[in-house]
Symmetry: D2
Subunit: 348 residues, 4 copies
């Protein structure tokens, strides 16, 4: 039996709790949240206790922690969990800064604990099946990846101000998809963007629409188009052209009803937002975490994946600011390299 503590009793925390208690050999012991009422309600529902972080890290019975609290707490909790020898499941992103994300990676490595970063899309049944079919050679050599990633609407401005910007907040998922699906690394990143839906977003220092081009070390090409607002809902698709064919990953729909009316033949819009669309993905992700813990295998979405996606987000943001393609060499060897060196020095 693996006893687990959950940080964060909000929307995503409740999803993780529900999936956790269905795992054989798992038991939810503590819920930690700055909002005592939320923590208490979730703890009651699953027969767990409310606790503070120190209690969790001090309790030798706790084998794993699930970090679903706010982004600014991730890095510290990862480092404390690693220091306490707890296995870690942490929502993306690791952190909004390369430095701290790098420090987390080091801490995890030093402690030798499992650390899964919640890029839940990799566990989506459609995306995972598509990846398996590429790996099985169905489309030959992958050549071009086109990713479409649109939210149903922009979050509140206050969220946007602290989100790290569209590249770290939204596209970080798409950068992870890129690395995973093409099994390749970026050579250059070029990002253009605009603020088209609401000028208040521009005033908050962000954009709402972006198109990104990535060229890879192996000469492959990737295009991402993302928007914070699609009038018709949540739109998460990609397609990959290979030398022997093409695979598309489409949206799931709530139902399979087709209506023939006087003006058109129509079907359901895609699932409303990420909690609905990725319901099965969150369940599979948690099952994978316990498989990792029970079998000792490496997590499919590691802290290094979290770091690399963040690096691409930084590079895209730089490209957008400077209006030119950024060599990932640039990113590593220039400003980011300095930072990474400093982090490395500090970590020794």
């Amino acid at each position: 039996m693996i006893e687990v503590a959950l940080f964060g009793a909000g929307r995503i925390g409740r999803i993780h709790a529900g999936n956790l208690v269905r795992q054989k050999g798992a038991s939810l012991k503590y819920v930690v949240d700055v909002n005592a009422a939320f923590a208490q309600e979730l703890a009651s529902q699953h027969g767990a206790r409310v606790a503070d972080a120190q209690t969790v890290f001090d309790d030798p019975a706790i084998g794993a922690v699930i970090i679903g609290s706010s982004t600014d707490t991730h890095a510290e909790l990862i480092m404390r969990a690693a220091a306490a020898g707890k296995s870690i499941f942490c929502e993306k992103p690791v952190d909004l800064t390369i430095e701290r994300a790098q420090a987390c990676a080091k801490a995890v490595e030093r402690a030798g604990v499992a650390c899964l970063i919640g890029f839940q899309r990799r566990y989506d049944p459609t995306f995972a099946a598509l990846k398996s079919r590429i790996d099985a050679g169905e489309i030959g050599e992958p050549e071009v990846l086109v990713v479409t990633s649109r939210d149903p609407g922009a979050p509140p401005l206050d969220y946007i101000r602290h989100s790290g910007g569209i590249f770290k907040d939204m596209l970080i998922h798409d950068f992870d998809i890129f690395r995973w699906i093409l099994d390749d690394e970026a050579r250059t990143v070029y990002a253009s963007g605009s603020c088209l839906s609401d000028q208040a977003i521009a005033e908050a220092g962000d954009i709402d629409t972006t198109v990104v081009t990535i060229t890879t070390r192996r000469g492959r090409l990737c295009q991402i188009n993302a928007s914070r607002r699609a009038a018709y809902g949540y739109d998460q698709r990609f397609e990959i052209l290979g030398s022997a064919g093409m695979l598309q990953a489409g949206n799931a729909r709530p139902t399979e009803v087709t209506a023939y009316g006087r003006r058109a033949v129509s079907q359901d819009l895609p699932e409303a937002f990420f909690l609905e669309r990725y319901r099965a993905a969150y369940a599979a992700e948690m099952a994978h975490f316990f498989e990792v813990l029970q079998k000792g295998t490496a997590p499919r979405t590691s802290v290094k994946d979290g770091l690399e996606a963040l690096l691409l987000a930084e590079a895209a943001a730089k490209s957008f600011r400077e209006g030119r393609p950024v060599e990932i060499g640039d990113a590593r060897d220039g400003r980011l390299a300095d930072v990474l060196a400093a982090v490395a020095a500090a970590a020794q």
Copy 2:
């Protein structure tokens, strides 16, 4: 808290148990199965106890029973549960004979307990959404219903021999869909059929393929086509033409991958069989049962629905044997009426 006993620890019993323990205010107390090992395993997983039927009915703490045991046990368990004042969730069919099904209906009525019959298709998200849209008037007056119902492959011959025949075993679901979707009753039933996939099925006294026509009291028309074997899997669709449009209920697929290969553009086959296809339906059905228990509302699939579907199955079998349309008046006033009268007399 409603304490519940589960009869049947097989495949469907495990599905019901998993859905049951997720209901707020529900607790699984007993598991009953002739196979002690099955019962023990399922009871352990959910913190319940193994018991025999008498213990269940004698325990005043038990508020509801879930009957997922073999068909020949349904009627007796329903009648004992009703007599003991327990609420009932019973897998379809109520029974293979009109007489006993009728007796169950009487017993439930006399006891005044809730009794939900497991026509899970009514709880399928696609089917349920379509029904709501008809009820909202989207297609005007319903006129023609076409139901397609195909299993991926025939069950073992031994199952077929005791199944009551294709009309009671397979089409009973489709007869229930007919009554529910059209909100109307049959006036005539005409069934044709053949044994096309395996002559052993004919030797077992059954057919594997049938087409049924139903005319309704309000002049509407229904066609059902059913087969025990579809090479491509489990196929459960229907479409309804109305005066102002048409609605189709399609199959769900495991993933939304579309593949462009050298010869065709392809997508996943439908979900493999009923446990996969109706996963969400089983969950919604159990949630509905607890809603019925907690709010005191009538179940959406009552013991009367079970009886009426069985009556249509009898009428279809008679039509097939006699090669002519059967008036439902015939069925009620002829052989079946005698039977029903006898049952009624015996019940007084």
Copy 3:
């Protein structure tokens, strides 16, 4: 060069003329129509002359006639053309009576001329491709055919009064599809029907909605559902279940636009009516006719096919009137047999 005369300068006549003049080795010489203005306009457009029927049949240069005039003229024109040794392309139906249709078949046989009946659906690219794939064994043995056939709206009442009824007017196409796709003949026919869209149709002695069941000599099953009115347009689909798979023939759409709006994802309605839907079929049908003329092969839709479809329509009408399945033996041996014998006697 084959010189051709066209009877009928209405809507379908113009379609046939346009397809005819694109055939290599074909030349339109005469247009015949009771409406002189229509005849003149069509003749002018294609450099042909207006003529009367006698001129056509007397002109030894005419190799073939195309009969697109009103139904009540078909039989006489076929018989006169056959007598004059002209090859024949005639719109369906051959005639509304078995007797006259039979007489046409005899006349064609005696004259030894080619006679193609315009069951254009067999030439539809979708239907024809599906048939080829069945013939190539893709779905193994065909078992169940489900045909959906709906018009966008009922024709004028005056048309309905002279149409021969829904079975001869609309379902004759579906009966031909049945015979062609299953490559089998009917053993029994059972038809139910209602008048649901407009009571004036009932007063005109017809119905607007029907469902038909056919069992075949080889034990296969066919269901047809047809309606004179579908609010969403013209709907012409079928699907065939075989021992190794299933094939569906869907509707064509005017465009491949998909729209994601605030309420649904929508696509075009099917092509509006038969002229649009079967545009390619009419072209292929005419090309086939000239192939028949130039290569001396048998037409894919013969006068016998016209007669057999009419026989099924009669049987369906009888079944509907009598409320029971009609054995095709009945039809041939009973009233129809008498008729056929009389026709045969008269023809000697």
Copy 4:
């Protein structure tokens, strides 16, 4: 009656001839081709004469010329036709050099003749319907356009060597789609590319795969992905996100057959290549040309459109060579501006 001369009796010339002779008020008088046999065959089929260019331009009866000969002849024929006062229908591209294309535009303007450039995609029923729906405001303000453009296979190397490169040869169509659909002009163009299918293409100085990003003057974004080789055939799609919805233009298929086999549900591949896919577009384009001639309206695809698309192709090629986004200001004001100035000077 407008008498017409056709230059080019190859594949596309035959398509144009077939569409031309169906126009009311049009007559094909001359066919011109360096291949005498091709010219003779096409002329015979349509009752036209073989002639040389001089005869065409000297014949005052000729009202319009259709230029479907090889690319290197376009500019000269346009200029000669303009000088002779003939209306012009010319296949894309106007020319492979900005200078000569510019000169053509000037010549056409000076002569005041109609000149339609054969960007046939704008006449495709799907693309044209989508554009009308944007114009009708269905998706609000257009924001992001994603264009997918893939050929079934690379042309012969000899063709590639003289094609002007992938940007002028393939993407010129996509650049035209961009300008038309967004009704906006490029501010920057960024192109990346690779040679992935066949190294011989790289040796011929070209690439086979490219992704292009365009930002517009109004802040909109466009991504194009193009490949000279898709294993599954010809793939021509685009989608446009707007403030109120999204529209997708999909591929057409040869048939609407859906097959359910043991492994997948499959449909036809897209139409094989441009002649099949754009069959209706070529017909509509020719009809539009005669509408322009008969009504005196402006052609929907003008010589200016040809010039602007070529400019984008040059800019994309420059971006690809230099590895950076090209400001269209750059293009016009830098090398291209010099060229354009020289052309302008020369033209005075």
